[in-house]
Amino acid sequence: MKPYFEKMSPFGSTLPAGKIKSGEPNVQRIKTAEADVDEAVAKVKNAGLPEKVINQRGQLTVWQRIAYLVDPGTWSPLNTLYNPNDNVEGTNNVCHGLAKISGKWAVVIGFDNKVIAGAWLPGQAEEVFRATNLSKRLNIPLVWLVNCSGVKLPEQEKFYGDRRGSGTTFFRHAELEQAGIPILAGIYGTNPAGGGYQGISPTILFAHKDANIAVGGGGILSGMSPKGFFDLEGAEQLIAAAKQFKAEPPGSVKIHHDATGFFRYVFDTEQGVLDGIKDYMKDMPAYHSKFFRVAPPAEPRFPAEDIYYLVPFNQKQMYNFDEVLARLVDGSEHMEYRPGYGPEVYTGLVKVDGFLLGVIANRQGFLGEDYPEYAPYPGIGGKLYRQGLIKMNEFVVHCGRDRVPVVWFQDTSGIDVGDIAEKAELLGLGQSLIYSIQQTDVPMMLVVLRKGTAAAHYIMGGPTANRHNAFTLGTATTEIYVMHGETAAAASYSRRLVKEKESGKPLEPVIEEMNRLVKSYNDNSRPVYCAQHGLVDEVARMTAIRDYLKAFAGAAYQNPRSICPQHQMMLPRIIKG
């Protein structure tokens, strides 16, 4: 298949000098918005005790452990800002991401031992759920850095129970193991109760010499057999018991290495644990990249920095998506699928790090007086029409057949509406796209380049495609809402305006409420908000989007559950005609 893949059609063009000059304010606005995200990330990373204090205790922080564990330049963090309950700690207390360890992709997740010794906090279970989902979707190992003091007791009611509560993790681990996905766990510190199950549920346990895992920790044992109330005598007994269990916590290495053998390996140093995991990762199931690569990896012909000039911060301004894509894919080459049909949507095959990916994206701008063909009004990019929906359906189905992972780029204001659009079957075609996605069973990722709006956010590979969407990336220009705030205000208040007007009442109070709603939509659709509430899994710099594409492609092709031989693929031949 060399003729198809080694040299595809080049696309994109060098940024004109005028665009560079006039685009400078746009660059600054995006970079300032990225600095906002950075600042929020720094708050999460600095939560809890300072690194210096942890190091003085002879421990590494979770961030230091990750930095030591992963191959340089491969850490692609996810859900760093995820904290939907706005915990006072400033974090949900786990961090995870995609990374290579010893040359192989894995999902890496660890407890933040700087914050209440890695306790369970509200919002954490959902992030763990996402991490295990990612591992399952991509069929790659899950690597845990366990250091978990158990439930934050004063807030247990928020996450202990429930269908998706913290205990869900242990069933998810079993599910991954049943599916043949290994879970490696480095275990540090004291891990009682929930922490104990965090420790025992993975596949292979690598323990630090001071680590322990137990059904119940010293704290629980000290407090057994209460009288129903506390008095001085009881307090003295507690003090004595607590001292004893602090000196000898249950489930130490003496028990779980020497007696039960649960700890497969024990290491004297923190780094030793990580070295043990690195060594094991070499033997994890993975194809060599040459098995699936369609061409040698190549950088794009245009710098990623150009994206700051190409994507307007102002959501009302148009741009050329193809130029953006040319900054993200190998050699700035592609094979576009049905270029003359459904012009509001880009569909095509590209290479990222030498791997074949399908790309589906919204295009922007005026589509001409004659499009959409079924309506008397002109089409505008960002909106979806009949042809675009049909094209996406076809392309997704072909990608499924050829086992090509799909990357979606959203900048959409929704699907065409009104009776003309209904007659053109857009409602049915939207749901058809959902069905098409559901039956593919290939990994997908989404980049919300700017707007993710209305049902289009769902049907274009959004995170609601639970079994397919591996993760969703935001950028500094991302906005996610059911509709624009002004549209929502008009929809919510138009009847009331009429009523007030007819009864001769002043309109100003209603207008004030409308403006408040517009502002609330604006505040609650910013990138940091989206990341804190899980609407996106991370907000990436424009220059880092390609890193995530590489991580996705490498991980998706590392050990896929099914294969389509390159010479039996249909999509490249359909494109060629």
Partner: protein, 347 residues
């Protein structure tokens, strides 16, 4: 003269929009004329005719007033940006006096201890004035207000503009350390005192005029490693709040002026190491600390993006980084909030 046909009782009245005059506040300015369109029941027409006549009379009187007097009659329109404010934010106050075109000097804007320097809006042109205020980190959350004052026909006028302050979500760094390690030696304390005096003089010496024209930008491309406002608690005692943003970067990387202005300080300080302070005018200063090298001199005019020094780890720094600070009216603000707030002031 044509006579108007009598209106039949019970028939729906179809009137043109009429000019209504709201009540004049005591000691207040003449009200703006408000145009309202309304369908009015026929039974109330005699009263309305009288009102209409009164309004027409008012209009005629207003038309007969000298230009200057009519100009004084309209209160300015005052807007705050951003609409929701956090502690540590910069705040843009816009006074739209069009079409009267009062000069900036005719207004006084004050917020807490701050008296704002006003300048012509760079985009909206004559008659629209802008000032910058700062909401201190220590400001209590809740309703606050700023005051805009002017003189109308020799009579002082003022308006209080209320706004809501929410507490910024700033982290906390708690450290237990040997007190000797956080207490500088007596000679160092003396040096710190001298430097603080000097800094006070520097920040008091700013140009009242705006010295920048284009918007502000980030001084380095690096990653933000130290958020603004983090509380530093040593041994249970709040010692400081992070007054700027830290950017992680490599020693020797260039640091650029975030906006145009004049260098007011370029020297080594005890805490800040090699530091540069730029006066941007209208109450705004930016500072660049811990530099390995200073590449500008006091009194030098710098443009936005011009190199002022190189990243370093001088002064009280644990590693190479840039501490970037912005002060508005001598109050520390989050530099990112400042950039956002002033973005709309760029042509």
């Amino acid at each position: 003269m044509r006579r108007r046909a009598p209106v039949k009782a019970g028939a729906p009245a179809r009137l043109r929009p009429i000019a209504m005059r709201p009540p004049t506040p005591r000691n207040g300015p003449l009200p703006a004329i408000v145009l309202r369109s309304a369908a009015i029941p026929a039974g109330r027409l005699p009263l309305l005719r009288a009102a209409l006549l009164a309004s027409l009379l008012t209009l005629a009187l207003a038309a007969a007033l000298p230009e200057r007097l009519r100009a004084e009659a309209a209160p300015p329109r005052i807007t705050l940006f951003p609409a929701s404010v956090e502690t540590g934010d910069a705040l843009v106050v816009e006074i739209d006096g069009r079409p009267l075109q009062r000069a900036a000097q005719e207004y006084t804007v004050s917020f807490a201890e701050q008296r704002l320097a006003l300048f012509a809006h760079p985009v909206k042109g004559r008659g629209v004035h802008v000032g910058l205020a700062a909401v201190p980190l220590s400001a209590p959350p809740g309703t606050a207000s700023l005051t805009v004052a002017w003189v109308d026909g020799g009579r002082p006028q003022s308006r209080r503009i209320p706004f809501h302050i929410t507490a910024g979500a700033y982290g906390e760094e708690r450290l237990r350390v040997d007190p000797r390690h956080v207490q500088p030696s007596p000679p160092d304390l003396e040096r710190i005192r001298r430097e603080q005096e000097k800094l006070k003089r520097v920040y008091a010496s700013g140009s009242p005029s705006r010295l920048w024209s284009e918007g502000f930008q980030l001084p380095v491309p690096g990653e933000v490693s130290g958020p603004f406002g983090t509380r530093r608690v040593f041994n249970g005692e709040l010692r400081s709040q992070h007054s700027g943003l830290d950017f992680r970067s490599q020693t020797g990387e260039p640091v650029h002026a975030s906006g145009a202005g004049v260098v007011k300080l370029a020297e080594e300080l005890f805490y800040s190491g090699n530091a540069v302070i730029v006066d941007h005018g209208a109450g705004v200063f930016s500072s660049y600390s811990h530099l390995s090298r200073i590449q500008v001199g006091v009194g030098q005019r710098v443009e936005r993006g011009q190199r002022v020094g190189l990243i370093g780890a001088t002064g009280r720094a644990t590693g190479p980084h840039l501490h970037w600070g912005v002060k508005v009216n001598s109050v520390n603000v989050n530099p990112l909030s400042f950039i956002r707030a002033t973005a709309a002031l760029s042509p």
